[in-house]
Symmetry: C2
Subunit: 481 residues, 2 copies
Amino acid sequence: MSGEDAPAQQQNAEEQKQQQQQQETKTPAESPKTESKPDPPPSSASTEAAAAAADTPAPAAEKAPEEDTFSYRALVLTGYGGYDKVKLQVKKGKPALKSGEVMVRVKMCGLNFADLMARQGLYDRLPSPPVTPGMECSGIIEAVGEDVTDRKVGDKVLVLNRSGMWQEVVVVATTHTFLMPEGMSFEEAAALPVNYITAYLMLFDFGHLRPTQSVLIHMAAGGVGIAATQLCKTVNDVTVFGTASASKHEVISQGGVTHPIDYRTRDYVEEIRKISPKGLDIVLDPLGGSDTHKGYNLLKPMGKLISYGAANMLAGQKKNLFAVAKTWYQQFSVHTLSLIQGNRSVCGFHLGYLDSETELIAQAMAAVMDLYRQGKIKPRIDSTYHLEQVGDAMRRMQERNNIGKIILTTEPMKEEEKKEEVKKDEEKKKDDKKKDDKKKEDKKKDDVKKEEKKEEKKKEEAKKDDKKAEEKKEEAKKEEN
Amino acid sequence: MSGEDAPAQQQNAEEQKQQQQQQETKTPAESPKTESKPDPPPSSASTEAAAAAADTPAPAAEKAPEEDTFSYRALVLTGYGGYDKVKLQVKKGKPALKSGEVMVRVKMCGLNFADLMARQGLYDRLPSPPVTPGMECSGIIEAVGEDVTDRKVGDKVLVLNRSGMWQEVVVVATTHTFLMPEGMSFEEAAALPVNYITAYLMLFDFGHLRPTQSVLIHMAAGGVGIAATQLCKTVNDVTVFGTASASKHEVISQGGVTHPIDYRTRDYVEEIRKISPKGLDIVLDPLGGSDTHKGYNLLKPMGKLISYGAANMLAGQKKNLFAVAKTWYQQFSVHTLSLIQGNRSVCGFHLGYLDSETELIAQAMAAVMDLYRQGKIKPRIDSTYHLEQVGDAMRRMQERNNIGKIILTTEPMKEEEKKEEVKKDEEKKKDDKKKDDKKKEDKKKDDVKKEEKKEEKKKEEAKKDDKKAEEKKEEAKKEEN
């Protein structure tokens, strides 16, 4: 997952950047949203790229015909911003396989909060655009590099990587692939790695979760939320408090949340204190900002707060500087003496920064797979989108409409679906325009109101001044008297 | 261990305060250092004390003769300061037993770092002086209160309490006593509670120690250090880095420290990096200040720093404001975003703040006792002192001359020992005087040197001024020319 482990991905990114410099040419035959990019002509390759190519077993000059015609669709983040910044493009040329690497034909990809942060430029583990995002996928091994003995062509695998998974073909170090257990669907396999390893390491390594303990899970209907709930249920008598909007309560209750709390209408701290006056053993905090403070204050002695994100920074599809600044400003910091006096622990977790810890990940993955085989966990799929619909998929996640995992499938869209998609797109644009217009109108109204208020204030102040002037006059009179 | 759980202790403290107000009368027959205090006459009892007495099952007015003559020796912290602030006194009157309480005839008491901090007024869990310090002891149950079914007269127990254990008789809630296993000595029993429960909860709850991991143990020859080393050895292939002065390395190596490091002559961070370039899984930090920063930076991904003290605040027998301020100023604080990016955990631990967590303590104690029965842990006794020698005991700990636990025994000193003690005391006083004189002399010398330096500086500056003046003259000449 590190730079050294995934040179093919980096090389792709390099190629993409070169491609980006070329003029963009749309190929309507592919899809309304798909952009086909020609290979950069050899003459345009930089010395650096040429040197890199010389290292690969099949240099560009000696490419076999099959390798020349090899192409695959890939989602590419073209720049930081809104949902439309992730575009479907066609990459050409067969990626080279180094020793210890495998090529995977991707079936399904998982969507994660880090991808949303990355699109807004808020996640430093994604190389700068143009780049293919995505930390996880499932698929079938199509080719193996030299010295690969533990994987063979045809193996069904799930893949966990720092980035680059949202495309039809990926090349990764074999250590980043894990064999899919019998009976696991490709959707489940793509939904599992990030959410379950995150939840597993947080609850069982940092959290040391034991029977009869209590856990607060924010965004309990999200990918990590559902994974964490299921993992809590593998331990006896664990009480799970889960925040989610009311419409999701039935589903998360069935999934194992003991006390669902609608954070939109209730103060979750109060609700928890009512049920568990002494507080909680573990708080999983993906929100950051003021919620981290609340979580810390909810801890029992020997309690653990595990911070694993700053979802509060996400407000709207484009970077909201106010939300970022506010979350940053309110971000929690703690002094060891406070920790000592409270017998507390504060932990930080993000799988994206663990990409070189292959052994740790392999152990956690093995444990998670065992639980899957025993039927104790099962990823819940919220919805599956085509690569062309990645914007809708991201919107669904960011607006927190999902219950469970959102999946991207590499299966091409049918023609009729595409037509419908175009219609929907137009409607959405109209809708967005309406929303924008509404916002503008609201702003205008607000401005007018503000102006009115200002006027009123001025008038009042003028009145006050008049009054004062009168009072002074009277005083003056009195003095005269 | 909380206020509600140990009213007898609090009542004793109340009595002591009243006694303190009386004139101090030495009783040479007892011991040169022992002060016998008469019971306060009933007339002097405050209304508050009288009200409190009315609550007890045996009010003062109805005391049986045996209860009137009942007396026991107790160490009492009479005020914050040096080693001599802990005085041996005689308390009179049999403590009242409430429901759920037991009275223990104490054999041995354990000495802890918190007691040293408390003497200097740096530990807020000890009630204000006059008060009997001490968090742990061992002994035999002498009486049981109503509703006590799990303990009987004659039971050998070890006791863990918030304070008040350094005396011949203690009254505590039965939940704070634990039956001594077969074959355990009273010394071991007094050495075990604080150190082993601290080390156990840090390593296995906050630390989640697993096979092949690495741990840094500061003050590896201290009570917690030796307990932690032994507990590390109960897990396969754990690498233990232990800091201690060179003279203790042989013993701690035999005890299980893989890499002893002399922190006085070596940079421990460098030494650890040489052996373990990736860093450590767990750092146990009793020092505070700049050492916490070093420990944090030594952590691997998923590593845990566990801060459990501020021993760096202790410099000299009296409170050293400079050391306190420096340690406080350098005290570590951390931001969740730093924790997230490093996948790290920072924990604070202090058993003194867990006094109401009886269930948690009972579970940890049961686990520790099991390990003792299996022969996997065994407290190492450094030395045993009589109550009269508590000053020496504290000095030995504070000057870090111990390897293992320092114990106080309630066994009275023999007459010849006492005489020797008096001699020693006189020698020590002479020694202290010499030290003081030496310090004064050194200061004088320093002052003289400083004066000389100042003089030299002045002379040099005068020379420089002369030179400048000459240069100016020459320049003036040149200009004239």
